[in-house]
Subunit: 335 residues, 4 copies
């Protein structure tokens, strides 16, 4: 229980179901005196929100964030910052049919067995809608890290609907998505998050190593099934003579470590890749059970999201920022 808090000094606690009145969070531990407004946070949410490209789900939420506390005369006070996002486009009737089904690949089965009583509409708290709160909180961290440390995440990826850094791939991706939509199917995605200008020394070995906490942060995002740092799984077949990053007076000669050694940042780019599974909510029927143990068929009606991975990008950026912010503050305690 109480698994809805993340972080030690810069701490996020979130709430909200897909079809409840609202989502939101409390961000505790933001240093005081930092300039912050809802308008600063909104663009981060806009990058995440549904219905903004023809490649993603068509639920249309405004995702307007309000700041309810922790800011006075435009600057943070060091007291907890509450962020609220109201749900406006729930369409609860779309889910009434599936209230007694266990949709394959979704958390219906596990929530039913763990909690007994669950909000089945849109997956309740298991829905990716919950990530809006993370993105709002992560926005504060990103702004702070940018302004104070120059830590940035890749920006040019926002210029296309796929967050793809290689513009030559866009049309191919678009064609793939369209084909999947017509087939009634979906595909997974791989997302890479890079943080630059990270100071050396962030991370708290041995259980709160930077890579360990990043792994948890990313794995906690809906649909993530794998996390790797630097060379990641390719290190399995690498030779030691290849993998280790040697050094010269110019600095490190490579970055297979992905910016982390011994669980602590090296000053090199932190490179994290995640694997997202394909959504199970597709128009192709699936076989499953209902809550009475009977075999039934389930199918998603209407438009579906052929690749949820696209939407994970701003969420992964948010989680990266939240982790770095927390470790940044923890490192200050030593100096």
């Amino acid at each position: 229980m109480s698994g809805n808090t993340f972080g030690t000094l810069f701490r996020l606690t979130s709430f909200g179901e897909s079809h409840g009145p609202a989502l939101g969070c409390i961000v505790d531990g933001c240093p005081p005196g930092f300039m912050l407004s809802a308008e600063d946070i909104q663009p981060f949410l806009n990058k995440r929100k549904p219905g903004q490209s023809r490649y993603t789900t068509q639920r249309r939420e405004l995702d307007e964030v309000q700041i309810l506390s922790g800011v006075f005369e435009g600057r943070t006070t060091g007291t907890p910052i509450a962020l609220l996002i109201e749900n406006t486009d729930q369409r609860s009737r779309d889910y009434a049919e599936i209230k007694d089904l266990f949709r394959p690949g979704h958390a219906d089965f596990t929530y039913h067995h763990k909690y007994g009583h669950r909000d089945y509409r849109g997956g309740g708290r298991s829905s990716a809608r919950e990530t809006a709160a993370r993105v709002a909180a992560g926005a504060i961290a990103q702004l702070y890290l940018q302004r104070n440390l120059g830590i940035v995440s890749e920006q040019e990826i926002s210029k296309n609907d796929f967050f793809c850094p290689n513009s030559t791939q866009i049309s191919e991706l678009a064609a793939l998505i369209e084909a999947l939509r017509r087939q009634g199917d979906s595909v997974g995605a791989r997302v890479k998050i890079i943080a630059r200008n990270v100071p050396i020394g962030l991370g708290e070995p041995v259980y709160e190593k930077l890579d360990a906490v990043l792994a948890a942060a990313m794995m906690s995002i809906n649909a993530v099934k794998g996390v790797e740092i630097g060379a990641g799984f390719s290190a399995v077949s690498q030779l030691g003579s290849e993998h280790r990053d040697q050094m010269s007076k110019q600095g490190f000669l490579s970055n297979h470590a992905g910016g982390i050694l011994g669980g602590i940042s090296t000053g090199q780019d932190i490179e994290v890749s995640i694997a997202l599974k394909p959504t199970s909510s597709i128009t192709t029927p699936a076989q499953t059970l209902n809550t009475s143990g009977e075999e039934v068929t389930v199918v998603t009606k209407g438009r579906h999201d052929p690749c949820v991975g696209i939407r994970a990008v701003p969420i992964a950026e948010a989680m990266m920022a939240l982790v770095l912010m927390d470790f940044y503050l923890r490192q200050k305690a030593i100096k």
Copy 2:
């Protein structure tokens, strides 16, 4: 700071450097009345300890564990259990040369910058020696889960030096290791940990999802660069119609989810795979800097470990058990 505690109800706090007097830990929150002795724990440590096969490092430690508290008349009292393992084979003179070097691929560079003053001998706390404490603590969890829930990890793998489930591969692996030793090089490894008979309902969404905490637990192990659950990174290119695990009256028809949906255990086998990088301590020289910023060459003398991944198996089992134990207790609080 203070990143050496793991778990919420079943909580491990560990200490110890590679060349310090001892390693150990405190396990807090073990239910009372459980039969436990040092003899119960020792086999788990023996499975881990160095010098027991010709394929791994030749440091010879007895790794004898002592129980200093928390057990009375052979059963746990519910009070903290302290485990102590004395270091006996430090050979500190082997490291005097490298005290001012940053060995590539090791944590020397990051520990130097984060802490300033570090125990350079054998990597100090960044050494994999630290994992002996985890294995000792994990033994308690494994014994409890086995006896109370029948949760086991794969046993037959212990019958060969590689923990390899496929006996036909042994000679090939042996040849590879020998070749690498002669080359003065090393290779990474992939390890898969499976837990069976896990009850449904373990995990605390959204930040302490079972897979998220497992990811952190595994990533915190030395040399781990990637963690995946179930289909993992192969889910990136899977179709939704393939990936999702459908259900019939016989139960789930597949297990691409790896036993976890929505961050909660489904009752299916929990399957976690990890990627371990090749060790950087090889007899092939490497280029690096010393603490004065001068370019120097570093090389490991004598025998080296061509594949550290082999030794990660009992450590990964220990981490799996620690995580499951903690979530098992947390789930009891709801029922």
Copy 3:
């Protein structure tokens, strides 16, 4: 930083300044399936709110609570419950004068030095207004404990404006309060909170003993300067032969321990007393400094609250309930 979270399994995180848009909290870890509505919580807030008797402050807040998540079809889902209370009667103009003063006995001085930038209106987060969130969260705990365990707090005290169990004292108290109001002064208060029907076994020695956590819970309430359990400070001069609670077949023969031995509940009534200081916001002028270091005089205008202690009663009940709820869940993990 991040000191706004309370509890381990039943966890409260709160936010809100006296003059911000709203106050509220997230309650994480409430067991699922529990019947809960805003109407269930409101009476607890009404017992606390200002302006309801002529003996307390005249700020008139509706303190209407809304549930934003964690409840579906009238019952909890086991997901975080967000509670929101909007501020409606701020009267910010009353505070513009004192923005640069350090009101004696208030937190202005410490908040100024710790945070630099502070919301001075009504004391910002240091205001007792913040306790509305605690009372709302505590209501959930009180309801759960009542219905599931029959744990109650003293009810008849609500029948008079002073929460006084001895009706013969009411007129004397009323006269005292009136006299203080005319004098422009205030007085402290002593409040005793009793919990009945508490099961044996709650508390987690040695640092999270039940009495230790209760002490922190109570001391965290505004104006509290002392906490005692059972005999408390009178135990200083008690003889051992008097203090110790002997036992017979009828049970304990006394309760100097206040229901707690070795940090664990004994099954007897838990008796906690707290000392509240007199408010410093009185119409008698005081000498202080402003933020420029100049000596100035400060005075509260208009009506003041001669005894803030009266309002602490429902807050102390809330904290008692929050602590017992958390330990109740933690104890379930052992059994």
Copy 4:
């Protein structure tokens, strides 16, 4: 469960029963580069240990502390520091009689019901022997605070067996103790701990206010039944015009607040007083039950400790230091 960890950044986890092999702790989060040796810590333990004056218990323990990790070449490395104290004078035979009794005023009853299986010898973990680990950990904090911030606790009290600041009272106290010993009885004690030179700004409102955490820290010490800050319970009958500490250019004009306002240190002396109950282990017989529910008589044989409060002084100092150290590090994260 797992209530044996204290602190957030400067974190203590302890273990050990009265009659087990050893006691000890892990101190995690001590800043690196700090000069530390077992010889630095020993005097703090000597101030606490039994058998050193004729006024306290006659168990003779060497209480020799060993440092097992976290220190290299005389300075801390920033990694966890393990401290070990072996038990040498257990005399287990003294307790065999009472294994099935619930000694009044002791934790036997509650431990029996909470844990089922308990180490009854000397009270097991409920024994004050456990506080040796706290004193050892607190020594590190005290040394750090002294050297880095000049924060000291009252030293001259160590010059007499009662830690009494007023030498004219010594003979009276000695006579009282002797009389109680002859009577076969005991008395409580009041101890006041003062910390000087504490910087402004320590404390994390609202639940981790400095006074709240100090209250928990002190209440967690065996035999403590009350904690007060500054004016404490005398504030109940104080007028607001008296209690509030006014300010002039010379600073605060009084210190009824005890150095804490709004849960944050003001820079004034932090003054905490605690109430300790009289020990129940006296030579006067008491009536109680055994584990079979039968009425029995229990009595302590031989010499007893007429006033346990005397020994609480170094423990209370340790707890004060641990709390201040943790908040000192947390405050650095903001600046």
